[in-house]
């Protein structure tokens, strides 16, 4: 398909999704499905995942699997807290970035210079991050230290000094808050759009802006600069790159260090949101970020979608556990749409157009979809509130479901995870 075709298809898809959300909201009466609060929460929860995912993207596009994102993120949180309480937010940002980058550097030394299996090195960093930061806390934050009197404990740093800037879109999301007014009318579609827009533009943390900007920036750097081409070639065929005079080691080093820095930035973001370092606040987001990146087919747009899906589901369940049951209705409608489309294409194609075996598979698939639709619909009608445990796993289940549908189209960089040695043929 041409670029234009894809672009239009995406737009149509987004529009259809919006319509569906609005419809489900009206039917279920769960306003949080498209409320500004939900989208604000989604953004806040998606950003650290997205940053970790971006970290993963940089590394893996250069051929280095980075399962150590979690550890690097932990380093980012600790150092952001440590520098932040002493010298303010900018220092926190720099320190967190650097700490993550150092984690990336360790990973680069192990994998690029020594050719260690990428998974092993990543696992070691995931041990090292929490271990080292806990150690640092035990040494620097113990009772009697200046930090402790500033409010530090073994599990937390003192709060970051100074404040960060959280701008809103003037008039629309702030002050007169037109969008907010529109949202509260609960009109079909219009209010939904207003809610979504307001959620994304109201009190935006400055780091959110930075993180969101990093997506197109990454796209530009990786796909539209010479350096990006070299980086991707290192992930596709480092031997070819080497033979053209590209310094593959250096490229990989840069990519993995940047990867760590982004993971660290994700940590900084968490610290900014909670105003201080809290032990364990990353809570596996490095792994989720990695998943979002794979989900997004090793592309910035895709990973943003993955992170957004996860953040949205998590935000919704945090705000309203009852709204989660509307996902049943959501699924049922999607399956219905699928069935209608299939049936139409079958009718237009006419019988006998396809090999028999394939046709049989089609019908089984459609039958399964129909059954699924009925079950989902029934669930939506009967289940009023799910046990909390089932609410908590909403984002994870959704991710799995989407992967089940879409995963076959994924293509990872060809030399991803491959040990590359200069001068050695493959």
């Amino acid at each position: 398909m041409t670029r234009v075709g894809k672009y239009h298809l995406t737009l149509i898809g987004v529009a259809a999704l919006l319509l569906l959300m609005s419809l489900v909201r009206i039917i279920t009466g769960q306003n949080d499905i498209t409320s500004s609060g939900t989208f604000y929460a989604a953004l806040l929860l998606a950003v650290p995942i997205g940053l970790a995912g971006l970290g993963g993207l940089w590394a893996e596009r250069a051929g280095v699997v980075n399962i150590g994102l979690e550890g690097m993120m932990v380093l980012g949180t600790w150092f952001a807290g440590w520098a932040g309480y002493q010298w303010g937010p900018v220092a926190a940002l720099v320190a967190g970035l650097l700490a993550g980058a150092i984690g990336g550097l360790i990973h680069a030394v192990a994998t690029v210079t020594f050719g260690v299996d990428h998974i092993i090195s990543g696992v070691a960093i995931n041990l090292l991050g929490p271990g080292a930061t806990r150690f640092l806390s035990e040494v620097l934050y113990k009772e009697g230290t200046p930090a402790a009197s500033a409010g530090a404990g073994i599990t937390t740093s003192p709060a970051i000094s100074g404040s960060t800037w959280s701008p809103s879109l003037p008039v629309l999301s702030d002050g007169p808050d037109l969008l907010g007014k529109l949202e509260s009318t609960h009109w079909f579609l219009l209010s939904d759009l207003a809610g979504i827009l307001r959620g994304l533009t109201h009190n935006v943390n400055i780091l959110v802006l930075l993180a969101v900007l990093l997506l197109p920036l990454t796209y530009f750097v990786l796909w539209h600069t010479a350096f990006g081409l070299r980086l991707r070639s290192a992930g596709e065929n480092p031997w070819a790159a080497e033979s053209l005079g590209v310094n593959v080691y250096l490229t990989k080093y840069i990519a993995v260090v940047v990867s760590g820095a982004f993971a660290g930035l994700g940590g900084v973001f968490l610290v900014f949101v909670s105003t201080k370092y809290v032990e364990g606040q990353t809570a596996g987001r490095g792994f989720i970020g990695l998943a979002a990146m794979i989900f997004g087919n090793w592309r910035p747009g895709g990973l943003a979608a993955g992170a957004a899906l996860f953040g949205y589901a998590d935000g919704l369940q945090l705000r309203d556990q009852k709204a989660v049951t509307s996902f049943f209705l959501f699924g049922a409608v999607l399956l219905l749409a699928y069935l209608v489309m299939r049936a139409r294409s079958l009718l237009t194609a006419g019988p006998g157009a396809e090999p028999a075996a394939r046709g049989a598979r089609q019908y089984t698939l459609m039958a399964a979809a129909a059954l699924g639709m009925v079950v989902l619909f029934w669930l939506w009608l009967t289940v009023d509130e799910l046990p909390n445990e089932f609410v908590f796993i909403t984002p994870h289940v959704l991710t799995l479901l989407v992967l089940l549908v879409a995963s076959q189209r994924l293509r990872m960089p060809k030399a991803d995870g491959v040990r590359y040695r200069r001068g050695e043929q493959h």
Partner: protein, 514 residues
């Protein structure tokens, strides 16, 4: 431009006393070569003679232990390929060096990207590539993904890569290995044009007739040293060159009296393979008798791999495959192997070997369920070991022992191990895909002899090869595959490589309805 280069009359490349040692091997020893500008200079030598190593040194990918390199009369010392590129050297490697998931344009500009305001200037690159393609007759679509290209196109991309960097000295390491005669001729036409423009070409090949066709001067390397250097005019025959290369008499693959019996060994009927709505194999049928070698000729990518994989049961296909009396079409791979299908894969590293496992474990591969590898659910290590030792002896696999990792062996020795393994289960039917690719002449002769001996004992062989001499010399019948169809049946005794090439490229229309 060319007059200018000639006027200086300094050699384009001078290699003096180049020595390169690898642990345990001296790849190059005191090599001396002088390449005149504006000429095609061929370097020949058997496998492992050290040609590629030498070229990698000239291209800055490896550092020589001793010796000097002069380019256009100036002594140079390369730390990396970029240094070599800077003085106008470009290299097309023995194996394709392309990133499949990048476009042709990206592959070409990689490492020498035109930028505007920090961004990749694809517009400028596209114009430049179009111009190069125009002047040298190397046409490819710059926006296609390389993974969608055929070998000929890829070869052109490789050459464009080099020209794009403004190289005046081109190194081509076995560029013709994967090309059919027509494509070779096209390539040579390109090379002649380049030469006319004053470029210097260093050309490496095993194929001596090609060398005689294109070269202005020839250097022969044996066991890492230069044994002869002469202008083309002084060479009288390919045979003379070959004897210089190997230092002994040259073997040829020639079929002696026919051993074809009337007992049917293997049959394929109406085999069709489809992927993504495209027919990769279209209604292919053939049969092979005991004692017969059926050769399949074809340009790579015309369905050979799919045919092999369908026969092996690795790839889903429609049609009937019969081994002996049995219909094996629905059998899994393992059962087919157990029933007596042997398989020498086209890419030994991909499908034939566990590089990081020992030789005796490689002996087991594909024979997990049969003697001597198996004893009940167990692997019989002792028997496997001793049988591997037998193969090492009978097939002259040069290795310190059977516990050595396959990785440590040279390509030819790896291939001998595979041939030995596939033969030792006494198959009824053998698929031999490029059985001697990248193998030196000595090993080649041995492998041919083994194939012939097995054929005499009643083995049916499906031989797929890009080496037309090998095909013609070994086969009892040759079928040509083109775009997934068998288009011609030829008698090897009265076919020339040129005619074969005609069928393979579709230049001569098929004579056969299948």
């Amino acid at each position: 431009m060319s007059a200018d280069t000639l006027a200086t009359a300094k050699p384009a490349v001078e290699l003096e006393g180049i020595t390169k040692r690898f642990p345990g091997v001296v790849a190059n020893h005191d090599i001396r070569i002088t390449v005149e500008p504006g000429t095609v200079h061929a370097i020949v030598g058997e496998n492992g003679a050290g040609k590629s190593t030498l070229m990698k040194i000239l291209y800055g990918m490896q550092k020589p232990d001793e010796g000097t390199i002069k380019v256009n009369g100036e002594e140079v010392s390369f730390r990396s390929p970029s240094d070599a590129i800077a003085v106008g050297i470009g290299m097309v490697h023995q194996h394709f060096m392309l990133a499949d998931n990048l476009t042709v344009l990206e592959n070409i500009v990689l490492g020498a990207e035109p930028t505007r305001a920090g961004l990749l200037d694809t517009g400028a690159a596209r114009t430049r590539i179009a111009k190069l393609a125009e002047t040298h007759g190397l046409r490819v679509d710059p926006d296609r993904l390389v993974e969608d290209l055929g070998v000929g196109d890829r070869q052109r991309v490789e050459i464009l890569k080099v020209l794009y960097r403004g190289a005046r000295i081109l190194i081509l390491d076995e560029p013709t290995a994967v090309l059919v005669p027509q494509e070779v001729e096209e390539l040579f036409q390109n090379l002649r044009e380049l030469k006319a423009d004053g470029l210097t070409v260093i050309f490496i090949s095993h194929k001596l007739d090609e060398v005689l066709d294109i070269a202005d001067a020839i250097t022969v390397i044996r066991r890492g040293t230069t044994v002869a250097a002469m202008p083309r005019a002084e060479v009288t025959s390919a045979r003379q060159l070959a004897e210089l290369m190997v230092g002994s008499e040259l073997p040829t693959p020639e079929t002696r009296e026919s051993t074809v019996t009337d007992r049917m060994a293997f049959q394929v009927a109406h085999l069709t393979v489809e992927a993504g709505g495209r027919l990769l194999l279209d209604d292919v049928s053939f049969d092979i008798h005991e004692g017969e070698i059926l050769g399949i000729a074809g340009v790579e990518g015309n369905g050979q791999s799919e045919l092999i994989e369908a026969i092996m049961g690795i790839r889903a296909a429609h049609g009937v495959i019969t081994l002996g009396e049995q219909d094996v079409s629905s059998w899994p791979t393992l059962r087919r192997r157990e029933a007596g299908i042997g398989y020498i894969p086209e890419d030994r590293h991909r499908q034939g070997l566990l590089l990081e496992a020992s030789l005796w474990e490689n002996r087991i591969l594909g024979h997990q369920t049969r003697k001597p590898a198996r004893k009940g659910i167990w692997i019989d290590r002792r028997a496997s070991r001793s049988d591997t030792e037998r193969i090492v002896k009978e097939y002259d696999v040069r290795t310190p022992g059977v516990d050595t990792l396959a990785l440590a062996l040279s390509g030819g020795n790896q291939q001998k191990l595979i041939v030995g393994r596939e033969m030792s289960s006494e198959p009824k039917f053998l698929i031999a895909a490029h059985p001697t690719r990248g193998v030196d002449v000595g090993a080649q002769a041995a492998i041919w002899d083994h194939l012939r001996a097995a054929r005499a004992a009643g083995l049916a062989v499906l031989l797929i090869s890009a080496d037309l001499d090998e095909l013609i010399g070994l086969s009892d019948t040759i079928r040509v595959i083109f775009r997934g169809r068998l288009v011609a049946t030829l008698d090897p005794s009265d076919v020339t490589p040129e005619r074969l090439g005609g069928y393979m490229t579709g230049a001569i229309a098929g004579t056969e309805e299948t």
